[in-house]
Amino acid sequence: MAELVNVTIDGVTVAVPKGTLVVDAAKKIGNHIPVFCYHPKLKPVGMCRMCLVDIGTPKIDPATKQVVRDENGNPVIQFMPKLTTACTTPVSEGMVVRTATEQVRAAREDILEFLLTSHPLDCPICDKGGECPLQNLTLAHGPGVSRFDYDAKFHNEKHVPLGELIFLDRERCIQCSRCIRFQDEIADDHVLQFHDRGRGMEIITFSDPPFDSYFGGNTTDICPVGALTTADFRFKARPWELQSAQSICTHCAVGCNITLNTRLETRHGGFEIKRVMPRQNEWVNEIWICDKGRYVHHFTRSEDRLHLPLIRREGRLVESTWQQALQLVADTLRAADGEIVLMVGDRIPNEDAYLLGQLGRAIGARVSVSPNVPSHYADVARAFGVGKDADFKRLGRGDLVLAVNADVEEQAPVWFLRLRQAVVDRGAQLIIAHHRSTKLHRYASAIHRFEVGRAPEWVQQQAETLAQALQAARHALIVFGDEHLDGPRARALAQLLANLLLQSGHAGRSDSGLLPLYPHANTQGVCDVLSPHTALPPAARVVWAVGVGDPQELPPAGFYIIQEVLHTALVEQADVVLPSLTFAEREGTFTSGDRRVQRFYRALPAPGEAKPDWWIAQEVARRLGFEWRYNSPAEIFEALAKDVPAYAELSYAALSRVVEQWPPIGREDLYYGGTAYDNTGGIGARYAAEAETRALPPYDVTIPEPTIAGLKRGPRMLYRDGELIRRSALLRARMVSLQQVA
């Protein structure tokens, strides 16, 4: 625990850790010192001068070096001759801060008047209007009337595309440099800078491609005015019209907490997602999300969504009713005599996967996950994953991060931010082993290279040195991916790394463990609740594929039941198509790559007659004679918790636990932390790794020979060719095909 110092702010004395800034200390006791440039996640710069306060310290006698006291024995406080910025001044013992004086009030009013001299006051058309720090603080502290002529206002460009996703309005910009500092300090993509000085100072980008960062959208959240807007949300809705639903991002294994903002719409039967905003969870994504999570939501209202069950009649898929489709599915399954493959994708929630698994076992089906789900090492991650209470925030000096075959920024962007902070800001050591260069390489203290797809062999050869390095570390976090590895070889890699943890004494310790880079939001969860078979039978009578996603080879079968969200190429093979719901239209839980189970809530109405996967599973089960009567995912989760040992201690109540987080985020604090949403839906809970509860033996590992299929398994990149965030000729021209590279 850091040393505490006492500071008195407007008569209230508070003890805060040494080094705390006055603005933060004041915030902790509910004294809201207005700021524009200061942000609790960024380093202070003191540029906007909005936080000016009157600061005094006890007077020290230069001769005796003692605090001078008055006749009553109280220390004499010596105030600074001028007002001081609260955002750059750390507290000191006995400091007295006055924020309610006339001088401070006048200073705030003057600063606001100054900022507004060049601000266009086009709030009615500004996307920030309604959630704008400048608006709010002007109302609270600003002058009531302007002394400036509206027509004499400073004019500047209002439509500057900084990149394909972010637009800049130079008139609205108040030069707080939050966006520049976010790109420099957090994202480490130095694509924004100031240009010129004085009145001419403006934000520019001169990079090529211009504003190219996976985290660019966050700059619009922390922009204290409407200067930065996203191409996606620009003029789409006013903030007060939006409804919000708390959700979990589905694009990678991080499980970022997000808020889906929806609005009544003339299209799509009523509601539509207007924007995706980060939701605070200091244990997962802090207040950031990556651009894929922010912009890739339009699929929820895609034209390709399935609205009705389809049945193949005379070679064509025709629209049908649930009654007919479910009866056909039930009859087919009954007649299949157990020669059934139930294949589940890793994007569906735990409850649905569990219920499907139960049904599959009950009818004697081979329950498996789709071939591109890396299910082979989920059990290793369950046993040796990061500890129950592991926290990225604690990772720092003395700790070791080992990244093997992992391209963290491409595969789990927000984990890249967390690991980068641990290494760059807090001094953790980073060792990287990969066959190519990644962005994380910039911070590595040691870089190793192996041949493409030779990660397991490399770990085996280096076992001794790696174990020594791990042993020397206080905590050890091992990030690994399965680039160019097939299932069995990826499993060998995971096991070798787990053995390293055992060997170095880190197994089962809280802040140590494995961190697998899974492809989707619920890979771990689906593997946990399904315990899938890893091998598929060569053929079956019926294949029932649920949320398998990408078009791929299914085992040959006489009858295909495809349960999907979109009309994919796979749907064309189907004999029966069952339309299901995306995460936005239902509730449930996902288990992230670090085994944090998190709830998400419903944001949109279902399209057409599409139903959640658990409902479909239950209806089929009932037609096969099972008496299942689950009314909601909550009830299924209760059954799941009883059945799956790892989830025994979890419940919806535990997952929706909300705790106070620092920095405060939300409506009245939006000038402080930005427009990210506060977390009222629950921070989720991580279940304990097996190694934490009991001693586990090391794995006996034999590395299988590499296969062609495995070697062809390229990196699973979030931002890859063909998956455009926004259709653009520029981006398409710049993107090099991965096939060409590989």
């Binding site: 993509d189 130095h190 694509v191 924004l192 800078q193 100031f194 240009h195 010129d196 000085r197 520019i204 980008t205 001169f206 990079s207 090529d208």
Partner: protein
């Protein structure tokens, strides 16, 4: 390409800094670029960024901040007239108007023949002999309209 044209100069500059602190060489490199092309061309900025291993945006920002780096082509002679307070008290603003009239351009512009560029600058530390200007960084002190005209006419 700057690296081909001025390879030796660039090497000389880079040699002054430790390899991990190459970024510090940005200003001397930009001067080389400006010497070579007359101003900091976008291509040169990108090249400097590549040499010192940082983002072009950062180099562009430095060019934008310092008034002695030019982002636009300038004339053969760059005339920087000080119009800060002490000079203004000695009639700098009237002097600047005269300069504009004599050259037939406004402050910040270049004559159509590409010979002169006229700028106003902040204090250049010669207040005792105001009004003062720099022409291609050479000081000319205690000017008046006649001396300015003569200076302009005499320049080749």
């Amino acid at each position: 390409m700057l690296r081909e044209k001025r390879a030796q100069d660039i090497e000389k500059v880079l040699a002054k800094y430790p390899p991990e602190r190459r970024r510090s060489a940005v200003m001397p490199l930009l001067y080389i670029a400006q010497e070579e092309y007359g101003y900091c061309t976008p291509e040169a900025i990108r090249e400097v960024a590549e040499i010192i291993g940082c983002d072009p945006t950062e180099v562009k920002s430095i060019v934008g901040f310092y008034t002695m780096f030019y982002e636009q082509p300038v004339g053969k002679y760059v005339i920087d007239v000080c119009d800060d307070l002490p000079c203004a008290l000695r009639g700098a603003d009237r002097f600047v108007s005269h300069c504009e009239k004599k050259l037939g351009i406004r402050v910040g512009e270049t004559t159509p023949d590409g010979k002169f560029t006229l700028n106003t600058v902040m204090c250049i530390a010669a207040c005792d002999r105001a009004p003062v200007l720099q022409i291609n960084k050479q000081y000319r002190y205690a000017l008046d309209e006649q001396t300015f005209d003569r200076m302009i006419d005499e320049l080749p």
